[in-house]
C-alpha cells in the first residue's frame, strides 16, 4: 500500500504539513518496504484550482491513502470520487510518526 503524506520537507523525517493542496512536498511511503519517495509540489505558486490537480498527481503516483491536516472543498469532492482514503493528522510530528500512527489505526478517517 502506498501512503501519501503532505509535508514541509523531503523524506520521512520532515514535519507533516497541515495544508493539502498547498503543501510544499508530498512524501510517498510504501507500507510494505518502508521505502519513501518525495515529490515537490509543482503548483505551490498557482493562484487557484490546486486541489483537484494535486489529487490527480497523487492518483498518478498510485497512492491508496492520503494523510494530511485539512482539505478544501474541491479537493474533498475529487478525493471522494477518487476512492483514495484520507486520514487526518494534527500532531505536528514527522511523516514517519504519521505513518506509524496510521498503521496503529490511531488516525481519524476523513474520507
Amino acid at each position: 500500500m502506498k501512503i501519501c503524506v503532505t509535508s514541509k520537507g523531503a523524506g520521512t523525517d520532515s514535519l507533516v504539513e497541515e495544508r493539502f493542496g498547498r503543501a510544499p512536498y508530498f512524501v510517498f511511503v510504501d507500507s510494505g518496504s518502508g521505502k519513501s519517495d518525495t515529490i515537490e509540489n509543482p503548483l505551490l505558486n498557482e493562484s487557484g484550482g490546486v486541489g483537484p490537480r494535486i489529487v490527480q498527481l497523487i492518483i498518478k503516483e498510485g497512492a491508496d491513502v492520503v494523510i494530511t491536516g485539512q482539505l478544501g472543498g474541491n479537493a474533498t469532492t475529487t478525493l471522494q470520487a477518487s476512492g483514495v482514503k484520507v486520514f487526518s493528522y494534527g500532531d505536528n510530528g514527522t511523516v514517519a510518526d504519521a505513518v506509524a500512527k496510521f498503521e496503529e489505526g490511531k488516525l481519524r478517517q476523513m474520507i
Binding site: P52, N74, S82
Partner: protein, 283 residues
C-alpha cells in the same frame, strides 16, 4: 463617447458619479448607462424601471464517456483545476472553468464538447426618456464576472454616449470594464486609503493608455495630497464634491444631486465636455 467610471478603492462614489453624469446629459442627448459592477450592481436603485432580462451563459466541457480513455491530458492541461481525471471517471468543476476550450483541443479522442452553463443575466430598461440602463448581474457563487461585463457592454455597442460604472479594485473585471473606452473618470476620496488605491488605478489606466481624470468625492476642503499627486501624475481634477449634509441626505434617499440640488446638473455636463476635450472624441 464611452466613459468608464472606476476608483481603485471601494465606496468612493463611482455609482453616484456615473448616475449623475448620465442624468445631467439627458437634456441634450440620449445616454446609455451600463452597470458593470456585476457582483453588486446598484444603478437600478437610482432609476425605477421594468427591465427586459437576458440570461448570460458561459461554456463548460462535457465529456463523452464512450470515447474518453481517461488518459488525463485534459486534466493536466487545465491550469484552473476545472477537470480532474480519476481512475474511472472525469470530474468537471463548473465554477472553476474559464471556458478557454483548451481541453477540447488537447483531447486525443475528441471526446470533449462544450455545453452552455448559466452564470448570470443582463437587464435592459428605459427608466427615463432618453436614458437606457443596462445592468449586469453575476449569479452568487460564480466567478466569471468579465463574461457578464462583456455581454452588458456588447448590448451598448452601437449607442453614442455610454457611461460605464465599474467595480472597485484593479482586477480583471475592472480591466474588462475599461477595455475599448475613450476616457476614465477615477473617483477618489482624500484619505490615505483613497490616495493609495487611486495610485493603483492610475497605474492601470496609464498601462492601458486610457485618458484619465479624477473626481474627489466627500471632500473636507483639504485635498492637497490628492491634488499634488494628480499634478505630479499629470491627471486633471475634473470635479470636487464636498462632504456635505444636504448631499448626503439626497443620496441616502436614493436621489440624484443633479436632479434635486441646483447647479450640479450643469457641473456634471461641464465635466462631460471636459472629458470630450481631453479624450479628443466628437460626442
Amino acid at each position: 463617447m464611452k466613459i468608464v467610471v472606476a476608483s481603485g478603492k471601494g465606496g468612493t462614489g463611482k455609482s453616484t458619479v456615473a448616475a449623475n453624469l448620465a442624468y445631467s446629459l439627458l437634456d441634450r442627448h440620449p445616454v446609455t448607462l451600463v452597470d458593470c459592477d456585476v457582483e453588486v450592481p446598484n444603478l437600478h436603485l437610482f432609476f425605477d424601471s421594468e427591465p427586459e432580462t437576458r440570461d448570460v451563459f458561459t461554456t463548460i466541457p462535457k465529456v463523452d464517456t464512450d470515447l474518453c480513455t481517461l488518459c488525463g491530458d485534459c486534466g493536466n492541461f487545465c491550469r484552473y483545476g476545472a477537470i480532474a481525471v480519476l481512475k474511472d471517471r472525469v470530474l468537471i468543476f463548473e465554477k472553476m472553468c474559464h471556458a478557454c476550450g483548451g481541453c477540447m483541443i488537447v483531447c486525443p479522442e475528441k471526446a470533449i464538447s462544450e455545453t452552455p452553463y448559466p452564470i448570470g443575466l443582463v437587464e435592459d430598461s428605459n427608466p427615463l426618456s432618453g436614458l437606457r440602463l443596462i445592468s449586469g448581474f453575476l449569479k452568487e457563487g460564480e466567478v466569471l464576472a468579465p463574461r457578464i461585463i462583456r455581454s452588458a457592454k456588447e448590448m451598448a455597442e452601437d449607442d453614442e454616449i455610454v457611461i460605464i460604472d465599474s467595480s472597485p479594485g484593479i482586477a480583471c473585471p475592472v480591466i474588462e470594464a475599461m477595455e475599448d473606452t475613450d476616457f476614465c473618470i477615477l473617483v477618489t476620496e482624500s484619505t490615505p486609503f483613497g490616495l493609495h488605491d487611486l495610485d493603483l488605478a492610475v497605474g492601470v489606466t496609464k498601462n492601458l493608455g486610457l485618458n484619465t481624470g479624477v473626481v474627489i468625492n466627500r471632500s473636507d476642503g483639504s485635498d492637497e495630497e490628492v491634488r499634488d499627486y494628480c499634478a505630479e501624475a499629470d491627471i486633471p481634477v475634473l470635479m470636487t464634491i464636498p462632504f456635505d449634509k444636504e448631499i448626503a441626505s439626497v443620496q441616502n434617499k436614493g436621489g440624484l444631486i443633479s436632479e434635486r440640488m441646483p447647479g450640479w446638473k450643469e457641473q456634471f455636463a461641464c465635466m462631460y465636455d471636459e472629458c470630450l476635450r481631453i479624450g479628443g472624441v466628437g460626442i
